[in-house]
Symmetry: C2
Subunit: 284 residues, 2 copies
Amino acid sequence: MLPRVEVQPIRIAACQVSLRVGEIEQNRATAADAVTQAAGRGAKIVVLPELTPSGYIFRDAAEARSLSEPPDGPTAAQWQDLAARHDIVIVGGFSELGTDGLLYNSAMLVDPSGVRAVYRKAHLWDAEADFFTPGSEPPPVVKTSYGAVSMVICYDVEFPEWIRLPALAGAELLAVPTNWPAEPVPQGERSILTANVQVQAFANRMFIAAACRCGAERGVEWTGGSVIAGHDGYPLAGPASTTGSPGVAQPELLVADCDLNLARSKATGPRNDAHADRRPSIYS
Amino acid sequence: MLPRVEVQPIRIAACQVSLRVGEIEQNRATAADAVTQAAGRGAKIVVLPELTPSGYIFRDAAEARSLSEPPDGPTAAQWQDLAARHDIVIVGGFSELGTDGLLYNSAMLVDPSGVRAVYRKAHLWDAEADFFTPGSEPPPVVKTSYGAVSMVICYDVEFPEWIRLPALAGAELLAVPTNWPAEPVPQGERSILTANVQVQAFANRMFIAAACRCGAERGVEWTGGSVIAGHDGYPLAGPASTTGSPGVAQPELLVADCDLNLARSKATGPRNDAHADRRPSIYS
């Protein structure tokens, strides 16, 4: 483990990019471009979307399998190379071929030393269940050089009980690679998916960086609406352009300077604490 | 129990009113005016703020006690009279003098037949702990003529684990009497307290009506920002005027027509369900 860099704030990036299912080399290049651009702007932790190399809308299980790779595969090698070159941390989603032969909708955290952790999405959306096995391990909290970082994927973030686990385990930043399918957003409203990210940050006094996709894939438009929320729940960057509110999501690079030390205290007032005030004994 | 009126939508009101600590008769009159106005606009369920008759910023425990009353006290009598006159349901907060001699920050649900349920706030904010004993009973779900209604109070709604309980128990509408002390809201942003109400609705596919106060009381400004959120999380009415974003909260009556039947299904897609997709076995 590399020593923690105590100088805060550190710059965090969320990359809203356009990817295409099946175009794995092009998608890797798109991700590398986004990461390089983020590093050029000084970002030290960079978040990419869900299923970045593979794309999302698989035709069938065989296609999903053909676009999967182990956590020591070429995507990990590319991200480690980028992480080492820029001295950064990268979190992004990929279609994982497990050593058990099963596929998982996973995310990995990579730093200059390599893959530090892999997380398998625990709450599967729609047709994902046809391709992927849900994970059951809690989101890992990785002590990186820049702070304690955890990760969940897309639909996971709609389950506040799940978000509590990394928050209670000390995550200062939660990275959320996501592919939110676009849904109607009432005029003048922010997407509730973006607002949900904010509120999970607020509830846990931790930073959250959610990176979504844009563009269309086999008839599915993506929401966009990527956001970096501060520990008070308000956006420090974004929301990025969002499909339907109005217009269409576009590629965007969000960067925000985050003092992750602020996430170490859960105090919300002289006598209140977002975590200590919980009463688990009466919650079931 | 009165028979359920199956005709939906029904009109719901949230009353953002100005109250003053200690002026119990004036506060009751303010509440009665707001309820009468809401009923005149066709509302069938009317939500009032936290600690409506008493006010909030007590000087000391003796003052809090002097402004408390049992759940069969004069406020209940007044609300029952209003409920019977207009054939409505009222939910509002009051300072409860328990039969055990203790004080509780409570809310009651009143219909034409009288007090149907009392709920005691389980998560106390700041100096409340000097005056009130926290409740430990889950929010009751009351089958009213107009739908299944539950209630929590103010800070309670920041604990999603707590909100799950009435949602899982079948609440179609959650009433949230609140007194949110004003906090800075970044320019162009919606108060995170309001957004939190929306997201709790979204997470549980249920309607939530939050009624806050406005005005100042012994140096504390109230947020306002009352809202009636639909089962998709988007506001059906409000947010009401909010202190600091910019300006100051004002008295407002929010009304929205809500098809509470929509809250009976938690389906979010052909293969997803906001409640059935939970995985409690891995949440601890």
